[in-house]
């Protein structure tokens, strides 16, 4: 059974906040880099970016 919403990718400033078991995770060195990577990925994947406010962005297919 596949869920309707899926995390397609994760972009994080702090890698130890994420214990990834499925979604590709990208570590960014700064906020600007994180923003840029997330923007590129969201356009490529047609996914929405959500900010978990602990340094982690997730890209979700709705």
């Amino acid at each position: 059974m596949s869920p309707k919403e899926r995390i397609l990718a994760i972009v994080t400033l702090t890698p130890d906040k994420v214990m990834s078991g499925g979604a590709p995770t990208f570590v960014a060195a700064s906020r600007e880099e994180r923003e840029r990577i997330a923007t590129y990925l969201s356009r490529i994947l047609s996914a929405q970016v959500h900010d978990l406010e602990n340094g982690v962005y997730i890209l979700v297919r709705h």
Binding site: E35, A38, S42, Q48, H50, D51, E53, Y57
Partner: protein, 307 residues
Amino acid sequence: MEFWAAVVTGVVLGTLARLAMLRTDYRQYPSYPHGFASHLALGVVAAFTGAVVVPALVEKELTAATFLLLVAQQFREVRDLERKTLERMEETELVRRGAGYIEDIAKVFEARNYLTIFAALVASTLTYLLWRPAAAAGVALVAPLAGVAGAVAVIAVGRRGLDRLPLGAICRVRLGRLCFRDTLLFVDDIQIEEIGLVEARRDYERHGIGIVLEPKDDNARATLANLGQRQAIAHDAAAILGVRKDRDTPEYTPIVRLDLDTGRAALAIIPIEPDPGPLLQAVSRVPVIEGARSRPLSTRAGRRAAD
């Protein structure tokens, strides 16, 4: 002679009835010109069916009547075909219609065809029955005129009965204030969604418009709560005003969310047309989806629960 007068009157009136119903449509549907032509063609067939049935029966052409009844059966599948077409087209829409709206459109299409058959039937029956007495009295034309009157009456009653309520009739539609608290998008105090990208938040702050729908009673509240109804609001707003979105930017998809405490709904959208006036008008005129139309106040429990 009366047979042909009846059939011609019926077919013409039925077709005109269908044409009248084709024009007054708000739903950006049917597509023009081929969809339009297809609907009209089916309308002519429906009109012919309705027009020939009664004269055929009276003249004891039972074989013809049987065939006609078989044709009428085919119209049952019409709803299915419409639904399939619309569902295929969903993939091409930037903002989808949703299953509720599609079902509503298909139902309306079916009902309009039946109304065409009925209008043609009434026109042809009246013409047929009145022809001989009218001809004997020297005013043969009274018969088709009676047919016209009958068909017009059917169309008027049918349109009144089948008319869809606009949302503006059951809710108060007004502008809301769009703002962000951290990364959460709000319209007034109704939470819409979380938007992660800074650029997207900036776009919403600069160009976004928020609309609030306040239900007038519990029936309206139940209607607004329906997912299909809310999806229809988003679709119509985007279809009429345009939406600043493409396939790869899902954060700009207009969505309608509820305030669970009061039953109000709020829409956040970045329309291509920056003037909020047309957007308000478009949202007020979104039809109440038949499947979403709920009447809890008609039940005892619903009335007891009403505030």
